[in-house]
Each structure stands twice: as C-alpha cells, then as structure tokens.
Symmetry: D2
Subunit: 145 residues, 4 copies
Amino acid sequence: MSEVQFGSIVASFPCQVQWGDCDPAGIIFYPTYFRWMDAACWALFAGVGYTAKRMRAEHLAMPLVSADCQFLYPAEQGDRCEVRSRILRFGGKSFVVAHEVQREDGMALAKGEETRVWGKFANGPGTRLRGLALPEELTALFRAA
Amino acid sequence: MSEVQFGSIVASFPCQVQWGDCDPAGIIFYPTYFRWMDAACWALFAGVGYTAKRMRAEHLAMPLVSADCQFLYPAEQGDRCEVRSRILRFGGKSFVVAHEVQREDGMALAKGEETRVWGKFANGPGTRLRGLALPEELTALFRAA
Amino acid sequence: MSEVQFGSIVASFPCQVQWGDCDPAGIIFYPTYFRWMDAACWALFAGVGYTAKRMRAEHLAMPLVSADCQFLYPAEQGDRCEVRSRILRFGGKSFVVAHEVQREDGMALAKGEETRVWGKFANGPGTRLRGLALPEELTALFRAA
Amino acid sequence: MSEVQFGSIVASFPCQVQWGDCDPAGIIFYPTYFRWMDAACWALFAGVGYTAKRMRAEHLAMPLVSADCQFLYPAEQGDRCEVRSRILRFGGKSFVVAHEVQREDGMALAKGEETRVWGKFANGPGTRLRGLALPEELTALFRAA
C-alpha cells in the first residue's frame, strides 16, 4: 500500500462545550471529543465538495477502523473551541484524519486520530457496506488544495 | 378517529444512570430520560414481536410527533432504574406511549409521553417515510395480552 | 403566583445536525432537540449576563421541572438550524422558556418548552440544590431589553 | 515508575445497542463505545467497593489521559453486548483499563483502552482536581481478587 502524505488542507470545525457535554466533575465528558472529531471529519469532506447530501445521494460512507484521543487540558461549559482537521494519509482503502481541538485562546485541549475506510452501501443506507478503493478524484481534491 | 384504551401490557426497560448521563450539577442531564423513553418504546414493541430486526426487515419505523416529560426527583450516577411503558391509546395512524421512570426503591423519577406515527420507508431506510394505518394485527397484540 | 409576560428578548442559538445526531431512519434522533433546547436556554441567560462562568461562580443552577417538544418536520444531517428562545413567563420560583427550531431556509422543524426553577447549590455543585425566588435583578434584565 | 501487571479481575458490563446509538448507516455511532467503556470502568471500580456513591462522598475522580478503540465488527440496534474490563497496569498516579466489547454470541465488536489518573477534588466537584498517588489499599483490591 503506497501512502501519500497530505497536510495542506486544514478544516476548522467550530464548537462549544455545552452543559450537557460535561460530567459531574464539571468538565467535558470525554466521548464528546469523539462526537466532535466525527463531525469535524464530515466538515472536512464537505469542504472539498463531499457534502452530507452528496454522500447520501451517492450512498457513500466512511466507517471507522479505529480512533484515539489524548486529553490535554480539561474543557469547561461555555468554552468556545475549534477542531482543526486534516488528512494525515491516504492508503488504498483507508485513510487517517488528524484532529486538534483548541480553545479560542489557543489552549490545546485534545488531539486525536481517526482511521476510516471509504465505502459504498450496496443498496442504500442500512444495506451491506462494501469497502472501495479511494477514488483518485477524491484524493486529488486534498492534494490540489 | 376512534380511539381504544389500552393498558394491559406494561413493558419494563432496565437502565442505570451513568457518569456521562449526568451534568455538572451531579444529576441526570434531562435529555437522557428521552433517550431512555425511546429505547423503552422499542423494547415495548419488541416484547410483542416487533423486534428491531423485524422492523428493519419490513422497513417499518415509528417517528415522533411529540414528546414530553415531567422530572419528579433528581437521579444520580449509579441509580438503577426501570422505565415502565404502555400504550396509552392507538389512533388511526398515531399512538401514544406512556412512560414512568422509577428508581429501584420505587421512587418515581420522571414520567412522560411520546406520540408517534406508524410508517414505512418507501424504499429502505433513508428514503421517504409514509404514514401507515396501524395494522390491526399489531394493535391486537396489545389488546390480547 | 403573579406572572409577567415576557417576549422581547429572543436569543438565537445556531446549531447543525451532525451524522451522530441522526438515527437509522436518516433523520435527527429526537432527544437531540432537547440537548439543543438546553444549550439554547443557557445561551439565552448568557446573553443577559448570566454566563456559564458566572452561574458556576455563584453556584446557581436552573434544573428542569418539565419539557416538551413537537416535531414538525424531519431534519437531516447537514441541516443548519437555529433555536430561537425566549422567556414565556416568570413565576415565583419557576419560569418557562419557549424554543423554536428553524432550518436556515425558515422551515420550522420543532418547537418546545422547558419549565425550570431557579436554584442555588448549598455548598457548590453536587451538594443539595435549594429553590430560590427569581431575583428581581434577573427578571428585570429580560423586561428591560 | 514501577508498573505491576494485573489481569485477574474482569468485570462484565452489560449493554445493548439502542436505536439512538446508531447512525444513518444503521450501525452503532462510534462514540457510543467510549460511553460504554467509561461506564464499564466505573462498574469495574464499583465491583471492588469504589462505587459511584463512595467516589462522590470521598471527592474522588479518575479523569482521562487518553483513550483509543478499534472497531472490529459493526453492531446493530438490538444487539446485546457486554464490555469485559480489567486493569492492564497501575503506574504511580495513572492506570490503564483494557476493554473488550463482545456481542452475546461471542462476536468481538470492539476493543480499546483508557488511560486515567487518580485524583481528588480540592473542595468538592467542580473545584480543582489534584492527581493523587494510587492508594495501595485500592491497587491491593485488584491484586487480591
């Protein structure tokens, strides 16, 4: 599997820590970061033309292989943040997205990675998902930008 | 719309308040109750044979018209609870499910209602959902029990 | 309990339907609306000076008595929305917040209400919460605006 | 930092994939696994006497340093699962919990790890959290069992 390094496109996904995102310790409940990373990944792809609407229409999906996150500093309710996301690498069928979560004052809150595959539903959502080779047309969008 | 009263079948859905279900006040974050009520409704239907698997296979769904909940006593992490659910009434296409959330010692924590319609996806999940008359075969299951 | 009608201040809370907010039917999972309404209520109070930080510092909270929502039109992943929130009425210790969720094209998606009480933790978060009379200083902020 | 291997105690946390835990692809939304792993970790500690109630009373917490998960097979609504959890190692202030999620038929769905620290709130929840050396009394409970 030949891998290509990508790093040029960095998408920014704005978010804010809500009351319900926090736990009894008064700080962010950690799965919230994974919710944000997932949403940020979708925003990254929407930014190059693969919007939710298009993904739906073309029966595309990008299920997870693995995900990890390091929690660097506790976020509190009201904190305005952004998730900065970029493709770390494209493999044949899989790719890795790197995410950094920053508070608006620049404080690094968390950083993580998602490994995903590219796939297509055989017959619409809910039907069997088949892994696909990452289309050159897609990877080129990240290379060109 | 003729309505029939139902009250015989009461399904019990067990649940427990988790750390991540609570907010910085140290008590349950209220949308958790709606998550439970939704899951309890699915369990109620599974109990009479309309399991998730069957609903999926037959392209059935039961989207919401409205939902409400009264919060009677604050639940804390670790509290073991059950949601007791029953059909309050079947209309032509819609139906009302009543839910009571109790702590294991019998303390009433919350009670609410969901109004739902019965529907079928035109062409599998994600495609247009059409409301259906509630099948007699389904409503009879609740009457008979 | 004398009640005063309020309607002047309308706060707008922006939000977007994410992949993880949707269910296998491909539309928003309904408790998401309650998560949004809660966040929108906090934003409404932040708008008049009662920010999360201040609420925390002064050991204030606004737990729920009840909540309801009508679901008017199914929202899909990617839909950009706003929750428009206002105080419907202040009672002695409780108050009602009305929320309307609109898609960016103006389509009404949902509308609901939350009834809350005003309270103070006896000794910081996690300790007993006592209901308080709504401070005149607070209610005046909504009246004046 | 001397590390001790632990493997004897394996706690089992039962869970079930709910409608609202799934995404438009009809499979589990991956942050759900992290919610489960968090709850399973609390259950593991409750099993040796460190219940939520005790943790609360003694102002203890176990915030995260990092978390990761590999997703092995897609889970669907209705799947009954268990999270099997054990301490992988205790360091000085931190410890690692390993989790395996299995479907009731034994199918491995996911496996992950959480690295946490042991800490105490200076003055109750919401106040500054200080890392503590893991008490010998605690680590002994896992060794002995």
